[in-house]
Each structure stands twice: as structure tokens, then as C-alpha cells.
Amino acid sequence: MTVRVQEAPFDMGAEVEAFGKGLKGVGAIVTFSGIVRDEEGTLARMVIEHYAGMTEKALEKIEAEAVKRWNLAESLIIHRFGEMAPGDQIMMVATAARHRVDAFAAAEFLMDYLKSRAPFWKKEFGEDGDSWVAAKDEDEAALDRW
């Protein structure tokens, strides 16, 4: 169970490789990675602000909840803050379990909670100036299924 909040980019391939190493009794690994969409070239850059101090705590709480609900052998959350360009990786989660059902459900749960319960805020800088990304009703609604 690992949480990392960092400004630096991360190497998705290397993280996935390292995550899978040496796990016992694991038959299924699911990963998700979130990427800055290019929005057809209108987005110049994105800046993610976060609440240093609370962020790790919030992510660890979400992860602990996932561990309570599903039979997980391991999990990982990496989330960046600071400035990013279109195509850059923003974050990733990985879950390892004996069976695929647990690995998938836990990864989706982590993503749904992380979207609207971890203190990150995205600001987009584009052709038409800059604006804070608005939270989506569907992201809030996604929590109801858990």
C-alpha cells in the first residue's frame, strides 16, 4: 500500500514493472493512468494545485477503504502536482489481487474517490485564457455506486 504525491514526472512502464515484482499469490494486476488531454491543440499547459499535508492523508484514507472492501495483495497511487503539458501523465493507480474482479473494482473505486475526494485542483491555460476545471456532476454521482 503506497501513496506518492510528487511534482516530478514518473515512468509509467518502470512503475508497472516494479509494482508487479515479487508479489505472492497474485493473478491479476490492473493499472490506470490519467493523462493531460491535448484538446485538439487548444490547451497549452495545465497546473495542478494541491493541499500539501492533507493530500497524502486523503489518498491513504481512500486506499485503506479499498483494502477493507476488496482482497488486495498490493496497491499504489502516484499523483503529480505542478505544471504539466498535454500528453503528460498526471497520475496512476495500480492494484494487485488474486482475482481480476477485485483488482478491477478496487482500481475503479480508487479512481472515483480520488477524482472528487482528494484535494487536487486543475487549472487549464489555453488559447482563450485560463480557467479552473469544474468538477463534473457525473464524478460526484460515480461515488454512489460504492
Partner: protein
């Protein structure tokens, strides 16, 4: 004395990320009332509480939460991680 933090557009509207505030407010809502009364920029930032979220001592909570013993209160818009 309590640390009050602002993030995202709340920070931008109020014009600072953090301040220490001397308050006797019993709840978050009471603190919001005090801030609104201070200056126009606070009134604007706190105009619509349904557009805001609050954390007390780094835990998400509601606006009717007690401030008893609280050291840190943070105000921000709905989160957009992931």
C-alpha cells in the same frame, strides 16, 4: 488563532493562500459569516457555499462542523483530481 487556507479560485479571489485569524467562531459557518463581513473579496469568494468545500484539520467536513480545538480550516472548490 486559527490557520485559514484557501485553494484554487478561492485563493485567487481572496488574494492569499493562508492567513492567521483570531476568531471565536463556534462553527465553520460562523467563521464564514465573520469573513464575509470583513471585506468585499471575502463576500465574493463565499457568496455561494454550495460551490465550496471545507476541511477542518485536513479532514473534509460540512459547514456546520464545530471549530472547537481546530487548528486549521481550509476552503476550496470541489476537487478535480485524477
Amino acid at each position: 488563532m486559527i490557520d485559514v487556507l484557501y485553494f484554487a479560485w478561492v485563493r485567487e479571489r481572496i488574494g492569499l493562500p493562508k492567513e492567521k485569524i483570531e476568531t471565536g467562531a463556534a462553527t465553520v459557518a460562523d467563521l464564514v459569516e465573520e469573513l464575509r463581513a470583513r471585506e468585499e473579496r471575502y463576500a465574493v469568494a463565499f457568496a455561494d457555499l454550495s460551490a465550496l468545500r471545507v476541511a477542518v484539520d485536513q479532514e473534509l467536513t460540512e459547514f456546520d462542523a464545530s471549530l472547537e480545538g481546530a487548528r486549521e480550516v481550509a476552503f476550496f472548490p470541489p476537487m478535480t483530481g485524477g
